[in-house]
Every structure is written in structure tokens, then in C-alpha cells.
């Protein structure tokens, strides 16, 4: 009945934002500008999740990455003297390794794009936007209960470890 909002225009717009943001992250010398570019890229990425009819993942992306982790990034960056880091020269020259990794990843993408037709199921996924959160919930607490609990246990260990390392005497 309604024309789908997920048109090609939005896809190209969001993808371009992600790519430009990503490039800016590694090319800017000012770390705060890098962080801002990263936030833009993450927000555009959550838009891409929305286009895939995964609103829950998009919302979590905004809350956790853009709202939580990036705030901590900025918090730490602000305590560094930007003037000094701007003058500092990069001391690790790893662009050969970087190009090799990028080429390998690009080759993988091209291989999947050209020959990967039978890797993916035929036909289109029926959008289940209205029950997305509920579906994820019942999967996490049903089929993948064990993995979910193990992951939460790992995070708990990490939290306790951080507290122990940061504060010797509590």
C-alpha cells in the first residue's frame, strides 16, 4: 500500500556518509574532529540498519555507540592537549600492511559480489519491522540463551577486572 521508504537514494546517501565519515576519521589530525566524523559514520550506519528493517539494532547502535561509547571517547580526548598531538608526527609506518589488508578485504567483497549468489538464500526477506524487537528478544532468551548468558558473564568479568585494576583498595 505505502511506497517503501527504503529507496536507493537513501541507501547511496547513507553509504556515502559512512564512507566519507570513515575516511575523515583516519585522515583528520585533530582527534576531536576524527571523533565527530566517527559519530556521523555511526549514525549513518544506524540509518542503514533501519533500511534493513532492523529498527532494534538501529536504536541500540544510536544508544550504545553514538550516545555511550563516543561520549567516553570524547571525554578522554578532551583531557589530552590537542595542540601537542597536532604537532606530533606519526611514528608507525604501516601503510604497506594497511594496503594489503584493504586489498584482501576488497577482493573478498568482490568475490562475494560476483560469485556469491548461491551463498545467500533466494528471494527477499519479508520485512518484520513491527515485531522486530520481540523477535530478537525471544531468540536471545530462547534459542541463543546460552551464548547470551556467556556473553553477559564475560562482560561482568571485564567490569570487575577494570574495577580491580583501577582501584587497588576499595
Amino acid at each position: 500500500m505505502n511506497p517503501p521508504v527504503a529507496t536507493a537514494f537513501f541507501f547511496y546517501f547513507l553509504s556515502a556518509t559512512v564512507i566519507i565519515g570513515g575516511v575523515l576519521v583516519i585522515t583528520r589530525k585533530n582527534t576531536v574532529h576524527s571523533a565527530m566524523a566517527l559519530i556521523t559514520a555511526l549514525l549513518a550506519q544506524s540509518g542503514l540498519y533501519l533500511m534493513l528493517y532492523a529498527p532494534f539494532v538501529a536504536g541500540v547502535q544510536i544508544i550504545l555507540y553514538a550516545g555511550g561509547i563516543m561520549v567516553l571517547f570524547l571525554f578522554v580526548i578532551m583531557l589530552i592537549s590537542i595542540e601537542r598531538t597536532m604537532k606530533e608526527r606519526q611514528f608507525n609506518k604501516q601503510w604497506l600492511v594497511g594496503i594489503a589488508a584493504a586489498a584482501a578485504l576488497g577482493a573478498l567483497f568482490i568475490a562475494v559480489y560476483t560469485k556469491g549468489r548461491n551463498l545467500f538464500p533466494n528471494g527477499r526477506l519479508q520485512p518484520t519491522e513491527t515485531q522486530n524487537t520481540q523477535a530478537i528478544g525471544s531468540l536471545l532468551y530462547g534459542q541463543y540463551m546460552f551464548a547470551f548468558e556467556i556473553a553477559s558473564l564475560l562482560l561482568l568479568v571485564a567490569i570487575i577486572g577494570a574495577v580491580v585494576m583501577a582501584k587497588k583498595r576499595i
Binding site: 505505502n2 532494534f56 578532551m78 522486530n132 524487537t133
Partner: protein
């Protein structure tokens, strides 16, 4: 032409939000209406805050510009627009320029999902409440970057305080919200009251949350009696901290940091921060209203039901506006009889007449049936706005370590315990229902 009219009219018969119906025209109308309404609310809030705070401190507050200072916010807005816009020399220009827009965008975007009524929302999302929390948490980015970009001591300290504060209180806030969302999936009215309604799937949609309260016949603040109330209390504390308002206004503590993160901002940019702060207050208040106070539902749906009470409550919107109009006319009558006051008197009388006219229109049954939900929602939000002013007039500012202690050592454990207790109570009622059947 005919098709356009048909397209516009086709929405009116549907029972959906404009976003749900996919109607571009009405979506635009709703966006504009929300934007205009919000701006008016911020202007009104500016005046009310000064007046109420002044009266709490036994002062008069603004009295010069317009009758009882009614035109003061407009005069202020003009002043801010005409002021010189200063960007400090050492500031990071781009970030300094972008920061106010991030805050304003975050504060206004959340209103996309605020449910003023079952059909009166711009759109309804499957992740409504997540969207609201997520986007409103983006405003901290604007505050942090504003403080950093100013390249000055006070703003930087304000920004650091703000980011620490907002990130810590988001945790407690989230726990309180989760316990309310848990309640959307449960049977019946809780500890007492008939539990006839069927269990839902649980929902994150803002409209769905209010409808769950309607179906269960209880506002979530009263559900599982102390539990809902405690969750509401945690949220009410956390939301004051989230919006950087007194008594948690450390990021802009005047006595220590001049104006905190927006010290270096002037003129129009500063007014953007002001606008964002007030619309963020309205936004978090509407989350609280939606989750715990039954959203657009009228008060006392259980005790005072039946068509007579429905009729009585449908008179409230009109009566409120008539009361305000009456106040205007009373003050017109009280105004000093002096030629200099003539224009003020005429202006106030015209304002009163306008309010009275709106009040009379609201008495038409069709109109009050259509917008009654908006009235109740706004009235509840207005209650929260008054609370904000009241807090500011009453509580002294917390020290930063006290703030952190309250957030992490009180609200967080209580929130966790609350979540577990809510789950246990929910299981109890579910089992009870299963046994009874």
C-alpha cells in the same frame, strides 16, 4: 487537484498516525504543529519560570514589558537575535558552530514519537522508547563539543561534568524504563483490581505502552504498588540530572563556572542552547508521562467511569482555557486607570478574548473528543514543568561527589532490585492467572 484533496481526506478516516498511514501531507502538518507548539511552550515556560521563581522568592519578577511581563520572552528573543555573535579567537570554529545544532536537533527529533494521543503522534515506531532515549542521549555530544570547542577553562570543566553526569544517570534511567516496559507484557492491574485483560507481547512503542496501560486498567505508577512508584521516582530524579537542571545543574553552575559549557556562547547560538534545554525538559517529561502516568488517558479511569464522568472530564479542556481567559479579564479590571496603561489593557483584553474563544471552541463535543487526549497529555507534562521550577526554587545544588554517589550508589542498586522484583511479581501474576484458569 481532486486527487490531492482525496489524498488529504483519506487520512482523516483512518485510525493511524500520519507516519503509520504514510501520508506525506499530514505528516508535514503534524511536524509543523509540533514544532510551533513546542516553540510556544518554550516561550511560555520562559515566562512562567521567571514569574513562578520570583513569586517563590517573594519578588514580582518581570513586570515592565507587557502586562505582568507577558511580552518579556519575546523581548528577550529579539534581544538575543540582535546581539553580536562572538566566536572566541582560540575556539575551534567548526565544532563551535556545529555544537548548538547537535543539541537542538537531538532535542527536537525525539518529538517524532511522542504520543499526544492514539492518533496524535507524528509516527509510531516499534522501538519508540529506545529511539527517544537514544536520540536524547545524543545531546550530551553537543554539550561536550561545545565545552571543548570554546577553548576556555569554565566551559571545559562544565562539559566534563556534564558528560560524566549524563552518562551515569542514563544507567539508572534505563533500569527504571526497563521495569516499566516489563509491565507492558503482564496480565491485569497488579496487586489489586481485577486482572481480566490479556497479556500483551510487551512493547517498546510509545503508543503501545499507553495502550497497555489502558488495557490493564492501571497506570504503571500504581502497578505492583510500591514498585511502579519507585521506578517513577528513580526516573524523575534521573531526568532532572539528564536535563542539567537544578539541583543537578553542575554543568552550568553559575556560582562556580559562570555559565558552564555555554559561557563563550552569545546571541543566537546561546538561544539555541536555551531552546534545546527547555525542549529536552519537555521531552523527558513526556517520556515519564507516557510510561507511568497513562499518557493521553484522562485521570481516574477506574473510580470515575461511565458516560456521565466521561462528559464531565470532556469539559475540562474548555474550562481550563475559560479560566485563563477569566484571569486575563480580572487583571484587565485591576489595571491602573491611567492613559499610559491603555495599550496594555487592550492587549491583555484581546489575549483574554483569544483564550476565551479557544475555550468555547473546545466545548464543542466533536472538537473536545478529537483533542481531549492532547489536552490531558499536555496537562500532565505541564505538571512536570511546574515541578522543574519548583525544584529550582527549593533545592540547593548538589556537590559533584554527592551527585555521583546518588547516581551510582543509590539509584543504580535500587533500580536493579526494582527490575528483579518487577520480574518476580510479573511471574507471580502470570502463574496466578494460569492456575485460576
Amino acid at each position: 487537484m481532486h486527487q490531492v484533496v482525496e489524498y488529504i481526506q483519506s487520512y482523516l478516516s483512518s485510525n493511524l498516525t500520519p507516519g503509520g498511514a504514510g501520508n506525506w501531507f499530514w505528516a508535514t502538518v503534524y511536524v509543523l504543529a509540533v514544532f510551533v507548539g513546542l516553540s510556544i511552550a518554550v516561550i511560555a515556560m520562559n515566562w512562567l519560570e521567571r514569574k513562578i521563581l520570583a513569586h517563590m522568592q517573594v519578588r514580582l519578577g518581570p513586570m515592565r514589558v507587557g502586562p505582568h511581563g507577558l511580552l518579556q520572552p519575546i523581548a528577550d528573543a529579539l534581544k538575543l537575535l540582535l546581539k553580536e555573535d562572538i566566536i572566541p579567537d582560540g575556539a575551534d570554529k567548526v565544532v563551535f558552530w556545529v555544537a548548538p545544532f547537535i543539541v537542538v536537533l537531538a532535542a527536537f527529533t525525539v518529538f517524532v514519537v511522542v504520543p499526544f494521543g492514539p492518533t496524535h503522534a507524528i509516527t509510531d515506531m516499534n522501538i519508540g522508547i529506545l529511539f527517544m532515549l537514544g536520540v536524547s542521549s545524543l545531546s550530551v555530544l553537543g554539550i561536550v563539543t561545545a565545552g571543548w570547542a570554546s577553548n576556555s577553562h569554565y566551559p571545559l570543566i562544565g562539559a566534563l561534568r556534564s558528560s560524566a553526569q549524563m552518562v551515569s544517570y542514563e544507567v539508572a534511567m534505563g533500569l527504571a524504563v526497563v521495569s516499566a516496559i516489563l509491565m507492558t507484557s503482564l496480565h491485569g492491574a497488579g496487586l489489586y483490581g481485577a486482572g481480566a485483560a490479556g497479556a500483551g507481547d510487551g512493547t517498546l512503542s510509545m503508543i503501545g505502552i499507553v495502550q497497555a496501560q489502558l488495557e490493564q486498567g492501571v497506570w504503571f505508577i500504581f502497578k505492583f504498588f510500591p514498585l511502579g512508584l519507585v521506578a517513577f521516582f528513580i526516573f524523575a530524579v534521573a531526568m532532572v540530572a539528564e536535563t542539567n537542571r537544578a539541583p543537578f545543574d553542575l554543568p552550568e553552575a553559575e556560582s562556580e563556572l559562570t555559565a558552564g559549557f555555554h559561557t563563550e556562547y552569545s546571541g543566537f547560538r546561546w538561544s539555541l542552547f536555551f531552546l534545546a534545554e527547555y525542549s529536552a525538559m519537555i521531552a523527558v517529561s513526556s517520556i515519564a508521562v507516557t510510561l507511568w502516568l497513562g499518557g493521553w488517558l484522562r485521570p481516574f479511569p477506574n473510580a470515575l467511569q461511565g458516560s456521565t464522568w466521561d462528559f464531565v472530564f470532556s469539559l475540562f479542556p474548555g474550562a481550563t482555557f475559560l479560566f485563563l481567559a477569566g484571569m486575563c479579564f480580572y487583571n484587565v479590571a485591576r489595571m491602573p486607570k491611567h492613559p499610559l496603561f491603555k495599550i496594555q489593557m487592550m492587549g491583555l483584553a484581546a489575549f483574554g478574548a483569544l483564550l476565551g474563544l479557544i475555550g468555547l471552541v473546545l466545548f464543542i463535543p466533536q472538537v473536545s473528543a478529537r483533542v481531549g487526549d492532547i489536552f490531558w497529555f499536555s496537562a500532565k507534562v505541564a505538571g512536570f514543568m511546574y515541578l522543574y521550577i519548583w525544584y529550582r526554587g527549593t533545592f540547593p545544588r548538589y556537590r559533584f561527589d554527592q551527585l555521583m554517589k546518588v547516581g551510582w550508589k543509590v539509584l543504580l542498586p535500587v533500580g536493579l532490585a526494582l527490575l528483579i522484583l518487577t520480574a518476580v511479581m510479573g511471574m507471580r501474576t502470570e502463574i496466578w492467572e494460569a492456575v485460576r484458569r
